[in-house]
């Protein structure tokens, strides 16, 4: 076996130019495939992480009937007790509660329908990262104690034609069904990568909103939970559902099925992508190995004549094919790793497409990411490709008749 491996390895370098061409093809294919996959994967992951950071957290609790039409009366009772209990769970990093109401936001110029989030700024910052989306020139996230402050998005500000310190009047139905409202002063303007979401969400202090809504004390509409590891979301959500059977506990994949879909879709896409690339490379390798068999007919005949059996001939050709593919794979993966790491830090700036990307929730700068286990997967796939690509040339070799093969020129 050792001798077969030695011969197979040295055989690769007999025709350096030809091997270099095949290796270059494998390297190019893998670098292109891996980098494109990492780019798509990075975009998807950023989309998911952005959603966690500003939209959904990892788990949300609601009154089961609240989600149907944001009915103000469908609240969660004993909020502070629940927050305390949930916070004690080892998997939980932070937890906060929100009052949520549909409202009409109006300025002197325009009005539009919005979702008003009544938040506790301190707890909110522990769970959501919206405060990081405010440029210093665009105010802050409830840093002053001033009452009736409001934080809105850049997109909504543009639509309502308001700026910092402008007033916005919110009109909504209170807890008793009466139409009420209040005037709020803009103290911060944020911008996330999801323009449609930005246009429909604005933030006020929970205490300010509770006062005008007249929602009873210690009741809220939503509890948002951030976990240490988002992969535990389903397990923890199921636990919470058992603990609070009167509430509806949903993990991020249920709140925004689209997020789960894009994660899984990227996995499938990457798989298909790599299979196409490796399939194409496989045919290239088959072609090269057929040329090798043709060139070495005499040598193969001699090997059979002196007693090298079919199994060993087959293994020798298979090893040679695998080595050829592996050399390309190792170089290709190293180059891919360097490129992905580099652009993973600097990012790929697609500012010219920012408007389009942000309209579907993606950032203009994307950071390619490829998990390390993917490299192992690719290596295994390349070895499998090598094995498959060796079968036809090896069978061709086995059909040779030693006495005829030796006579070839």
């Amino acid at each position: 076996m050792k001798m077969l491996i030695k011969i197979a390895w040295r055989n690769i370098w007999r025709s350096k130019t030809r091997s270099a061409v095949v290796i270059f093809a494998i390297v190019s294919g893998l670098v292109g495939g891996l980098f494109a996959s990492a780019w798509m994967n990075g975009m998807a992951q950023q989309r998911v992480q952005n959603a966690f950071a500003v939209e959904t957290a990892h788990i949300q609790l609601h009154n089961p009937k609240f989600s149907e039409n944001l009915d103000i009366k469908k609240t969660i009772s004993s909020t502070s007790e629940k927050l305390e209990e949930i916070n004690k769970k080892p998997e939980v990093k932070a937890v906060t509660s929100r009052l949520i109401i549909s409202a009409m936001a109006a300025t002197a110029n325009k009005n539009t329908g919005v979702n008003v989030m009544g938040i506790d700024p301190v707890k909110e910052k522990e769970v959501f990262k919206l405060y990081q989306k405010i440029d210093t020139a665009e105010g802050n996230f409830f840093e002053s104690k001033k009452k009736n402050a409001i934080v809105i998005s850049k997109a909504l500000a543009k639509e309502l034609k308001v700026k910092l310190k402008s007033k916005i009047v919110l009109t909504f139905q209170d807890y008793n069904g009466e139409i009420t409202g209040g005037a709020f002063k803009v103290i911060g303007i944020f911008k996330t990568n999801n323009t449609p979401w930005d246009k429909t969400h604005l933030f006020v202090r929970e205490s300010d909103l509770r006062k005008v809504l007249e929602v009873p004390k210690d009741q809220c509409h939503e509890i948002d939970i951030l976990l240490n590891d988002y992969n535990q979301a389903k397990t923890v959500s199921d636990e919470l559902q058992m603990e609070y059977p009167k509430l509806l506990s949903e993990d991020w994949s249920l709140i925004q099925p689209y997020l789960k879909f894009i994660s899984e879709y990227m996995d499938v896409m990457m798989g298909i992508f790599m299979l196409i690339i490796l399939g194409a490379l496989g045919f290239g390798i088959v072609n090269t190995m057929l040329m090798v068999i043709l060139e070495r007919t005499k040598e193969l005949g001699m090997l059979m004549a002196i007693g090298m059996n079919k199994k060993r001939i087959f293994l020798m050709i298979m090893f040679e094919t695998i080595f050829l593919a592996l050399v390309g794979a190792v170089i290709g993966e190293l180059i891919s790793m360097l490129l992905i790491n580099y652009f993973g830090k600097t990012g790929i700036d697609l500012s010219s497409l920012a408007e389009g990307l942000e309209s579907v929730g993606y950032g203009a700068v994307s950071y390619p990411v490829l998990e390390s286990y993917r490299y192992l997967q690719i290596t295994i796939l390349v070895i499998l490709t090598g094995i498959l690509a060796s079968i036809y040339p090896a069978l061709k070799a086995l059909k040779l008749h030693p006495s005829e093969a030796i006579r070839t020129l």
């Binding site: 050792k2 001798m3 030695k6 011969i7 040295r10 055989n11 007999r14 005499k298 040598e299 001699m302 090997l303 059979m304 004549a305 002196i306 007693g307 090298m308 059996n309 079919k310 060993r312 030693p402 006495s403 030796i406």
Partner: protein, 233 residues
Amino acid sequence: MSVIKVNGLTKTYSETEVPVHAVNGIDLTFDKGEFAAIVGPSGSGKTTLLNMIGGLEVPSSGYVEVSGQDISKLSSSKLIDFRLYNIGFVFQAYNLIPVLTARENVEFIMQLQNWEKSKMNNRSAAILESVGLGKRMNSKPNQLSGGQQQRVAVARALASKPQFILADEPTANLDSKSTTQLLDIMEKLNKEENITFIFSTHDQRVVDKARRVINIDDGKVVSDKVKKGVMSS
């Protein structure tokens, strides 16, 4: 004691319009330690006969027995194993494995036979020494002359101590000096190791060295002569 018995051996190629009888009913026996040359003009059937004795071609009729075993009845995979353990081949074009050194080429068959490493190393060193290539063990075939490559091929054929060696035109590509050296080496090894050598050749220098000369023409044995003094020796 006969090592090889060839009985009524025939090879007919029927692919052409008129069937060609490359070998036509040959009967021969070879004893242990023989140094025999099969001679004849081109197309006389020398190589075909040698190929059938070596199990590289299947006879149309007749059989080849090696140490009492009819090799014509072996399956192709068993025939490969048979060749591995019983026959050494020397080819006209040397046919060494170009990516292996002289020593690795010599050890190749021993490796296929799963020899113990130390024994294999000792044997390869000794045999390369005896063919005069002790100092070129680590050279690859492309670093050796034709004569040296053929000496490596002889060493490879002999290394695993086969029952007999078949050499098809071994000197055809060699100059006079290399031919003489190679023949001397083969004669010496034949005597030292008592291994049967059968050559196909039309090189007079080989014929001169051979102790038995079998002349064939049109696939038939025309004459089979043992040189004087050989029987008694």
